[in-house]
């Protein structure tokens, strides 16, 4: 490479997004770190869901979920509540951008309420399922992996909703005393929407397919 080419190459790199002095994804570090955390969390869920798919394929037969879970009266409404809590979370972010802190607290409160409703319905569903004889390693439907994958995956997701409720309670509590920037609310929202996004796949793969 001639000296001239080397200079050209250096200039090309410096002018590119990776030349330093620029943020290639154009977000603040806080938001980027939340995205990175969510990606690693998504990989964990991906591992669980792929494991579920492989176990289900190798099991050959699988109980018909519609006969076991109350999808119309419990799981469907749980999905509805989670979607509603996502929209109130998005509204909290929008309110924070408009500097309307009273509305931020209102929408955060509604989101927390949605999360708590989801959790109580999940607790009801679990106790109903356990009442019918389902355990982590055995169940009356003859496919042990059916209840194993159900408890592990919905349990892991439920613990995420619980963490989300705690996270939002802390944000809402502090928001009451000092004004948070819209971005802090938005980062908390990213986590909450992710929990909703994962539920989309759990609802489809575990309950419907």
């Amino acid at each position: 490479m001639s000296a001239e080419d080397a200079v050209m190459e250096e200039q090309r790199v410096l002018a590119s997004d990776w030349g330093g002095g620029k943020s290639p994804v154009g977000t603040s570090w806080g938001k980027l770190m939340m995205w990175l955390f969510l990606m690693s969390d998504a990989l964990t869920f991906a591992g669980l869901l792929v494991g579920y798919g492989v176990m289900r394929m190798s099991a050959g037969r699988w109980p018909y979920q519609y006969n076991i879970f109350n999808i119309n009266a419990v799981v469907g409404p749980m999905t509805f509540i989670l979607i509603c809590s996502s929209v109130t979370m998005a509204a909290a972010v929008a309110a924070a951008r408009m500097n309307d802190h009273r509305k931020v607290r209102l929408f955060l409160g509604l989101t927390i309420l949605g999360g708590l409703m989801f959790l109580s319905m999940q607790a009801y569903e679990w106790s109903h399922f356990i009442g019918e004889g389902a355990r982590l390693t055995t169940n009356p439907w003859g496919v042990p992996m059916f209840s194993t994958t159900f408890f592990v995956i919905t349990g892991f997701h439920g613990s995420h909703v619980t963490s989300g409720v705690i996270y939002l309670l802390v944000v809402a509590g502090k928001e009451g005393r000092r004004r948070y920037s819209a971005e802090t609310i938005e980062i908390a929202g990213l986590y909450w929407h992710f929990v909703d996004l994962v539920w989309v796949f759990i609802f489809t793969l575990l309950y419907l397919i």
């Binding site: 394929m57 190798s58 998005a90 951008r97 408009m98 929202g189 989309v200």
Partner: protein, 101 residues
């Protein structure tokens, strides 16, 4: 892009309500697909497409990916791509175990 970004900042709640409405429609469609007696493969493909559509709506509008740089969107779709590769890599194993049973 900058205009879209500003719009998302000032636009208020409308975009979220519209997203919420479509998410509900897609959820009702999903339950509807299960209740109709269509061939299983068609049903599975429909359900996965509807789930992906819902995921895209949530990521694009609720998580504002639509208003971020495209590079961030590329980065965050990697788990989905890796999960798909992992699943298809393990399918031969699953069918083999099924054959042994």
């Amino acid at each position: 892009m900058a205009d879209a970004h500003d719009k998302a900042h000032e636009g208020g709640y409308k975009v979220y309500v519209v997203t919420w409405f479509w998410l509900l429609v897609l959820t009702v469609l999903e339950i509807g697909v299960v209740l109709t007696r269509i061939p299983r493969l068609v049903m599975v493909l429909c359900l996965i497409s509807l789930a992906l559509l819902k995921a895209v709506l949530i990521a694009a509008y609720f998580m504002h990916l639509r208003f971020e740089r495209i590079s961030l969107a590329y980065i965050v779709t990697t788990p989905l791509i890796l999960a798909t590769i992992l699943f298809f890599a393990l399918v031969p194993d699953a069918t083999r175990v099924l054959g042994i049973r």
